[in-house]
């Protein structure tokens, strides 16, 4: 009898211990964000673009991974993100975010507050790669630029830096590295630059930031 009670107690506890139930979400209930681009309009509104992978089934089997880019504007980055979320049936999940890109307009104005917001978001790993998009192309257009070499632009950026190209004229800068460097006495930081000619993606040179604002590239 005592044994039965023990087992009953054990299973009751097991049920009660499922505290993560409220947070558990199936993978198809999440929209994995792999890349994010942030810029500013002439009116001063934030333009936020996110890139999400979409698995397309083809003829009885899973086909190649494709992606969608969703763009919205808002008075704050949060507002723009919530506007994007209103367009998706699932919840935006930033846990697998690979890269964050900033348009040159925003970079010249200052990226300090935006980075602070991103760094304080716990689900977002502080090792995401940072990139500045030259004015030759808008940040949202850059993010949707497909390369013939790698399907997803966000993954292209990650692969580029992970390959550690010795001849490249730029180097990877992660979120925590930039934040650390720009918090030092000199308040200076570097972020790699990129642009696209609508056919290919180019990552070269570094942007110099002083007090969170783009000084030179």
């Amino acid at each position: 009898m005592m044994k039965l009670w023990k087992w009953l107690f054990f299973f009751t506890l097991l049920t009660a211990a499922a505290g993560c139930q409220l947070d558990s979400r199936e993978i198809d209930h999440r929209t994995m964000v792999l890349g994010m681009a942030i810029d500013k309009t002439e009116e001063g509104e934030f333009i936020v673009t996110v890139q999400v992978p979409v698995i397309v089934p083809t003829e009885g089997q899973l086909g190649p991974s494709e992606f969608e880019t969703l763009t919205q504007t808002g008075a704050t980055v949060w507002e723009a993100i919530s506007n994007i979320e209103a367009m998706t049936p699932t919840v935006l999940f930033f846990g697998h975010l690979k890269t964050v890109m900033f348009g040159e307009t925003l970079a010249r104005e200052g990226i300090g507050q935006v980075l602070d917001m991103l760094d304080r978001r716990a689900p977002l790993a502080n090792q995401v790669l940072l990139l500045i998009i030259r004015n030759r192309i808008e940040a949202d257009k850059f993010l949707s630029q497909e390369s013939p070499l790698v399907n997803l632009p966000a993954l292209y950026i990650e692969r580029f830096f992970k390959a550690d190209q010795k001849l490249s004229r730029s180097t990877d800068v992660k979120l925590f590295q930039y934040r650390r460097d720009s918090n030092l006495k000199g308040n200076a930081g570097l972020i790699p630059l990129a642009y696209s000619d609508r056919e290919n993606i180019f990552i070269e040179d570094m942007a110099v930031f002083i007090k969170e604002s783009l000084l030179a590239n």
């Binding site: 009660a16 505290g19 846990g95 760094d119």
Partner: protein, 372 residues
């Protein structure tokens, strides 16, 4: 349900004493290291080294006291040698402070879990499941707790050893960890109190020592453990400052968790390895909860003038009190750290050392009797 010493035939060994000392102190001391509620942290790594010295004195006096009187039950000694009203005031203060520590530990766990793991789950759900499991685990008694923390201690060591790899990474720079002495006396004092109180968990040894095997020499495991704790704190402080720099480190809720996030990981299954480390960290909080719920309930047992046969009742009362306090108090971010740190300093260091000194100057009862 065998919880207390008289029911244990063979005492706990030196490995048990070592891990108990380590696990009673590490989780809450490390999780916010070197964060000291916006106080000065530039030289935190240096202060944790200095702050351990009073606790070495603590264990030295503890050993002297137990050696002199031939018993390891300090509370029993105090009861027999001090006026009973002093004994009860001291015990009530210890009990309330131990509850305060349990409350702070629970709140810390809740904020870490809610920030990094379960954003959508209500605080009370996390709190209740955590305390229910910890409370029920204490029913199995100190010997089972001791065995469990030895096993889980290995997790801690793996975690700490993994973090040590940061010393060899490009992200770590010695340039950021140079000591800077702030000349603002008040800030310096405040942060020093925080650093000293990180070692406060060792107070639970006062209730644990009577269960240690009589043949075990207590000073060596305790001193070694305290040294390992200091090395762990030192390593975490150096890593956090070396990787993030002072200005960024001060904005992080849990620098050690951010450090884990920084770990470069492979893609695919192990992409967010930091969340696995975080789970190990949560287990570490469980160990600490086991120790402190047991410690608080053993204090309650000493406080109650009549004998309660079923010890699980005491554990349930203590766990219930922590649940109620946790539910009806604000989150840790809205609570003051200074009162907690100062109280921690008094009840884990100043008061026990006062008791040791008092017991050392008093004559051994057996010795006094033979003299007369």
């Amino acid at each position: 349900m065998k919880i207390y010493a008289e029911q244990i035939k063979k005492g706990i060994g030196s490995a048990g004493l070592f891990t108990f000392t380590y696990c009673s102190t590490i989780p809450i001391g490390t999780v916010f290291l070197p964060y000291v509620s916006a106080a000065e942290i530039r030289s935190a790594w240096l202060k944790v080294v200095v702050a351990v010295i009073p606790y070495f004195l603590f264990i030295y006096l503890l050993k002297k006291t137990t050696d002199k009187h031939g018993t390891r039950d300090v509370f029993q000694l105090l009861k027999s040698m001090a006026p009973s009203w002093i004994y009860y005031i001291v015990l009530v203060y210890f009990f309330c402070s131990a509850l305060y520590t349990c409350l702070f530990g629970t709140k810390s766990l809740v904020i870490i879990v809610q920030t990094y793991l379960m954003q959508a789950t209500e605080q009370h759900v996390i709190m209740l499941t955590y305390l229910a499991i910890a409370g029920i685990s204490v029913f199995y008694g100190i010997k089972a707790i001791s065995r469990m923390i030895i096993v889980m201690f290995l997790h801690d060591i793996i975690l700490i050893a993994s973090l040590a790899l940061f010393f060899f990474s490009e992200d770590f720079r010695w340039l950021f960890v140079r000591p800077v002495f702030d000349f603002q006396l008040l800030t310096f004092m405040e942060s020093s109190i925080s650093e000293v109180s990180r070692y406060g968990g060792v107070v639970a040894l006062l209730a644990f020592l009577p269960y240690v095997d009589k043949n075990v020499k207590i000073i060596n495991p305790m001193a070694t453990s305290l040294f390992v704790i200091m090395v762990t704190y030192l390593m975490v402080s150096l890593l956090v400052l070396g990787v993030f720099g002072f200005d960024q480190a001060i904005t992080l809720l849990s620098p050690i968790t951010a450090l884990m996030q920084t770990a470069t990981s492979a893609t695919g299954l192990f992409e967010r390895l930091d969340l696995f480390f975080l789970t190990v960290w949560v287990m570490s909080f469980y160990k600490s909860a086991l120790i402190f719920i047991w410690f608080t309930s053993s204090l309650l047992k000493k406080l109650i003038p009549f004998r309660i046969k079923r010890d699980w009742i005491l554990v349930s009362v203590v766990t219930g009190m922590i649940i109620l306090l946790s539910l009806f108090t604000p989150a840790i971010t809205n609570m003051g750290w200074e009162p907690y740190n100062i109280n921690n300093l008094v009840y884990t260091l100043v008061l026990p050392m006062g008791i040791f000194c008092y017991l050392l100057v008093r004559k051994n009862k057996g010795q006094g009797a033979s003299d007369s």
